[in-house]
């Protein structure tokens, strides 16, 4: 467990910077986390992706497959990696307030 401070707000996170209490997530958290990843302003596509990830996690308890993200948002696969420089897992899932997924990510 660690504490990060972003623009005067503190959050309890795991060693990788994922929220320790995913339930406290809101859009403000997403904006602050995105900024700390170098995403200055979340655009419509960022939000669409983050919201799909969040919804899937709330309904099914896991991050969605990248296929679901592409198909439901209409964002092209290659573009997702440009939108989130840290990728869908360390980037988008963290911004969506999920715990860190297992595996090589």
């Amino acid at each position: 467990m660690a504490i990060i401070e972003l623009e005067g707000k503190t959050f309890e996170v795991d060693g990788d910077g994922f929220l320790s209490h995913p339930e406290i997530w809101n859009e403000e958290v997403a904006n602050l986390f995105a900024k700390s990843d170098g995403i200055e302003e979340m655009n419509e596509k960022h939000w669409a992706i983050v919201k799909i990830i969040r919804r899937n996690w709330e309904e099914k308890g896991m991050a969605p497959m990248i296929r679901v993200i592409c198909q439901e948002t209409g964002v092209r696969l290659r573009e997702i990696y440009e939108l989130f420089p840290l990728g869908p897992a360390r980037g988008a899932c963290r911004i969506a307030g999920l715990p860190k997924p297992d595996g090589c990510v």
Binding site: G15, D16, G17, G38, M62, Q71, P85, R90, K100, D102
Partner: protein
């Protein structure tokens, strides 16, 4: 961390008492503390503190060995620096062996007298695993693999849907309805495997290999039951679970009656199945096992695929995954491929068997506990990359890809990280 019971302690100490393991005993008795290993280690180099000298990792296991397995250690432990296996020792072991080692093996090749430091670290991890001290996050990844068949817990239906989606894209891209990504087909020449992060989050490498297989007119299939090339139990040091995972791969190969098992770009996966697998399951594998890196080189060498040598003009550098290169002996194949498809291929210094680990190996990527330390070690790789002036870093290992992606952002390198198959697919000349 739970307290150490006598029962757990016995399980841990057994690892040091298997008399068949003369290799371990030799290595535990040989370190002369010359300290030359220090400079080979990315932990020591990124933070020159004696705590990180690889010999310390050998030392802690050796001191426990002496305490319980030698006459002097049993009678006069202080004389031989023999150490009790207790809670304090375990805490230090966990920090040294899990938290400060990527098992990259660089110290082993630099050791002045040839101590297999890497092997001692693995044995130490085995002890900790038997006593129940595997870091929780690493254990979760192993547990997911054991319980669901893949280390990200992807349900089969989701996997199949993803492959079908990729197949549609492939047909569209190639403008050929016969292009396919076969599933569960028996009697094909190749059973191909994947790192679960490919279907879950990074499927460009699956499409790339499918395109290469299409170009080579290969007879191949994926399995929906056992496609996971990883074996995190190897990192955790849990030999029973490593055995279960390797056995599943062997069973699936036999079920699909394929001639070759082709391992995706995954350093530890290739090491754990090709080189360690037969030891885990205690039998010879009855088919050929090779990495996709070797296969790609073979395709180009034999003219099974044609690649355009002029298309890729950006400066490309190569990161050597420790488990594939230093531990697995696949050194020249990736270079051969790159020279055929990249006009400007620049090596890092050092490279090949002396390459520096990216910092993500040994299960580090899975262990959130040591994230800050991991990103500090990544600074060495960042410097290496920066010095090449490359805009593309290719690495035949998905684990390294992820570590390098994070390094790229953290150290503002502004490079693109790609797998070898992705580069080859982009260079294909299709007739």
């Amino acid at each position: 961390m739970g307290r150490l019971s006598e029962e757990k302690k016995k399980l841990g100490l057994e690892v040091l008492s298997f008399h068949e393991d003369s290799k371990l005993i030799t290595n535990l008795n040989s370190c002369v503390h010359c300290g030359l290993c220090a400079d080979s280690c990315i932990y020591y180099r990124s933070e020159p503190n004696e705590h990180y000298v690889p010999a310390k990792k050998v030392d802690i296991v050796a001191s426990i060995y002496r305490r319980y397995n030698t006459f002097l250690g049993k009678k006069i432990p202080w004389l031989t620096k023999a150490r009790d296996l207790d809670d304090a020792t375990i805490e230090e072991m966990v920090d040294l062996l899990y938290g400060s080692c990527t098992m990259c093996g660089r110290c082993t090749i630099h050791c002045s007298i040839g101590v297999d430091i890497n092997y001692v670290v693995r044995k130490g991890r085995e002890m900790l695993s038997r006593m129940g001290y595997v870091p929780e996050s690493l254990n979760a990844t192993v547990k997911a693999a054991i319980e669901t068949g893949n280390n990200m817990g992807i349900p089969t239906k989701e996997f199949v849907d993803t492959i079908e989606w990729l197949e549609d894209d492939l047909r569209f891209e190639l403008n050929d309805d016969n292009a396919n990504i076969p599933l569960n087909q028996k009697g094909k020449d190749i059973m191909y495997t994947l790192n679960p992060r490919e279907p879950k989050f990074f499927p460009l490498s699956i499409s790339a290999m499918a395109k290469v297989f299409y170009a080579a007119n290969e007879s191949w299939s994926l399995s929906t039951e056992m496609y996971d090339v990883t074996n995190y139990a190897f990192f955790a040091g849990n030999m029973d679970e490593a055995n279960v995972i390797a056995q599943r791969m062997d069973d699936e190969m036999n079920k699909l009656e394929s001639k070759k098992c082709v391992l995706a770009e995954c350093g530890h996966g290739s090491r754990a199945f090709k080189w360690e697998g037969p030891n885990y399951i205690r039998k010879k594998l009855l088919y050929e096992v090779l990495t996709s890196v070797e296969l790609l080189a073979q395709y180009i060498r034999e003219g099974k695929i044609k690649v355009d040598p002029d298309r890729l003009t950006e400066v490309v550098t190569l990161h050597d995954p420790c488990n594939l290169v230093r531990e697995g002996g696949v050194i020249e194949e990736q270079r051969y491929v790159l020279r055929k498809i990249a006009k400007n291929f620049v090596e890092m210094t050092p490279h090949g068997t002396d390459n520096l680990c990216c910092g993500g190996g040994g299960g580090q990527l899975a262990m959130s506990e040591y994230n800050a330390r991991r990103m500090k070690t990544a600074g060495l790789k960042a410097d290496q990359i920066r010095k090449t002036g490359a805009s593309i870093v290719v690495t035949p290992c998905h684990n390294c890809v992820d570590q390098l992606m994070q390094t790229n952002v953290e150290y503002k390198l502004n490079v693109k990280i790609m797998t070898l198959a992705e580069l080859v697919a982009d260079a294909l000349i299709l007739e």
